[in-house]
Symmetry: C2
Subunit: 413 residues, 2 copies
């Protein structure tokens, strides 16, 4: 029989969200009248805004006519979209990029899952804990780790605990951790909602440049930052182009979780080294990966993404993000009033709360579902340092958010 990739067996059984789904289905089957409100998976609920809808209809019409029909596009994305990204997301904040440093894709999950392919088979990985599981799982599948221990930490991976003590933004490690090839950072953070300051990111950039590590900076939630002093791109930090890849998404910025568009920036100044110790362009490696295994994002979807950058698109998607941030504020105020210690939810769509008495996060999940008919995400699902914490997301209708707060008040006051 064909020999399989044995590293898959190291993955922990049951991805977090399927397990949540299973428990919710069981509860709903036993309590068919309970109106369960889901604040678990970070999935948007508001419809696409009018300027995006109009752009999609127009693009579909182009595809219906021979003269304007588009077949294969450039794998890196059409210039109309890359130009808009470059001007609006970067040049406007003082970051100069070339078009061939931006790679349009169909989603950040793909990008952060695939980017590890360009690194050495035994590259040393660093993540914060708790963390978005894809960073680690994609490296486990590629054979860069040993087995997981009983709390879910994989041998060979360096974990930095994100705790209340460090404001959920760990400082770079000291050299005792040994050489690191790739460090994954996420700001605003999924799951904690913490946002790194310029000083904190500058410390990471300085560390990466000193040690020769590459930072994979996941900025999928940057649009939720409302404080102009907080960095929305790691490239706002001097020297970051020499040490960082940046991941961006339209999913939470423009309601694209079901539309599918994202991009990744790999600067041409960013070098790795080959086995002979010679410098090799990571941009060239990623371009090769992207063009060999990907055939570009749908034309209609790229037109939808480009519409985000029109004046109307900016205003409409900005209002949508304001709506979710208001949801976050309402949840936050309700939780605080009910006696919870709450983090995040200010420049981020996620709230990170301490479970009462630091109860196990899965026990709290069950209690919240049973007593308040609310679904959240147990912190332990994001890593051992998430134990005793719980994630709630601001993605829901206003009515459901208000109702959720009322149920929390009834249940916990």
């Amino acid at each position: 029989m064909t020999r399989i990739n044995d590293d898959y067996a190291k993955l922990r059984a049951g991805y977090l969200f399927p397990e949540i789904g299973r428990r919710v289905r069981e509860f709903s089957a036993a309590h068919p009248d309970a109106k369960v409100i889901r604040l678990g998976i970070g999935d948007v609920t508001e419809p696409l805004v009018p300027s995006i809808v109009a752009a999609m209809h127009a693009a579909v019409e182009e595809m219906a006519v021979r003269e304007t029909f588009r077949g294969y596009g450039p794998e890196q994305g059409y210039d109309f979209l890359v130009d808009a990204i470059r001007a609006n997301d970067y040049a406007s904040r003082g970051v100069a990029l070339d078009n061939d440093e931006i790679f349009v894709s169909d989603g950040s999950k793909c990008d952060v899952g695939n980017v590890q392919e360009i690194f050495a088979k035994d590259a040393r990985i660093l993540v914060t804990d708790p963390v978005y599981p894809v960073y680690v799982d994609s490296n486990v599948m590629a054979g860069r780790t040993g087995a997981a221990d009983e709390v879910g930490r994989f041998a060979g991976v360096t974990y930095l605990a994100a705790t209340a003590q460090n404001g959920f933004v760990p400082a770079p490690p000291d050299d005792s951790v040994g050489p690191i090839d790739v460090a994954y950072l996420c700001s605003p953070s999924n799951p904690t909602g913490a946002v790194a300051t310029k000083a904190q990111l500058a410390a990471w950039v300085a560390w990466a440049r000193r040690t020769g590590a590459t930072i994979v900076f996941d900025a999928a939630y940057e649009a939720y930052i409302r404080d102009p002093e907080l960095p929305r791109s790691i490239y706002e930090i001097e020297g970051a182009k020499e040490c960082a890849i940046e991941v961006r998404s339209f999913s939470k910025r423009a309601g694209f979780t079901g539309v599918r568009c994202a991009f990744m920036v790999v600067p041409k100044a960013l070098m790795g080294k080959n086995a002979a110790g010679e410098p090799v362009s990571l941009n060239a490696l990623w371009a090769r990966r992207h063009t060999t295994k990907f055939n570009g994002t749908s034309y209609v979807i790229q037109r939808a993404a480009a519409a985000v950058y029109t004046p109307a698109g900016q205003a409409e998607t900005g209002a949508q993000i304001d709506f979710y941030l208001d949801n976050a504020r309402i949840l936050r105020e309700g939780l605080v009033a009910a006696g919870f210690t709450v983090y995040g939810g200010v420049h981020a769509p996620y709230l990170w709360l301490e479970t009462p008495g630091r109860q196990s996060s899965w026990d709290f999940f069950d209690r919240l579902l049973r007593e308040a008919h609310l679904v959240g995400t147990p912190g332990a699902g994001f890593g051992p340092s998430g134990e005793g914490y719980f994630r709630l997301s601001a993605y829901n209708s206003r009515a459901n958010v208000v109702e959720a707060v009322a149920r929390i008040a009834r249940t916990f006051r």
Copy 2:
């Protein structure tokens, strides 16, 4: 510095199509008045058919309204599409599949590039020669090969020559090649246009079951088969579910090269073995890969694909394929009249011709471009056994195809 994946350095410089693009740009710059007709890259030219356009508009409208908006969908694809695939592509031909054996994706290039991840790091690969480059390149990048020799064959890969002698459908290898884990087959073939008969596929299935190999069967062009006796799915062969994965695409079947939708079938009866020799479900491995590194195909695009299976969609896309097949016939007849020896182009959109006097395929490329202002694809770009051959594609307007034939007649008669 971060250590990189050194296997990328083994890839041959310059992917085939960029090199073609470079030569065409140079020629066009030197001859700005030449009206170059491109029969090179296999990219469709006809617009989306009305039923697909209508389905896309309707789906966009759903996304514009909160009550019908869709966020994240199931990573494997929506049931409305998977049901249609299962019923129309398989049940109708006597192949029973379950929905969870079908994985909707954004393209076959992704699927055939990614599928190797579930196999052992040192899995032994077999391909035919000439071959679609992604099968080999994705395995080179994963470190399963040695370096390439001067004709481009990678050490450690088993190549079976597809030649005029075997009708461009090689028989399975004898056991002297040693154990094979994964064999890539493509029918109708890109680039040769050859179609495997049931007897030929049955021989491959028997070989795979006897030796324990897994066949990755690329059926991206199955819709071009018009002879009911020729198999459109490998699962029409008894026992194939125990030894084969099948790749399908909407790109050439419904004009989706710029729309992006495909799917892959991984039967639950298909097992590999782990290092301990125990059987492991390849379906379970691929499900884990697909859900960990992919977030589903765009909802609007899945609705477009589902429209292919409506009665109107079947009629309209069938007429579109008839149109391309007529182009192939016209090209074929013109080439034969001009004295060429031509293969393919009957149940396939590709014609595979012998270069005059078995001239080098790149020299013939240059001559065809210079003298007839026609662009095709040099056979050598698909592997050493493609030397002395040339691929032309039927994807163009009727006027351009007729003009191409006239130029061929003038140039070669």
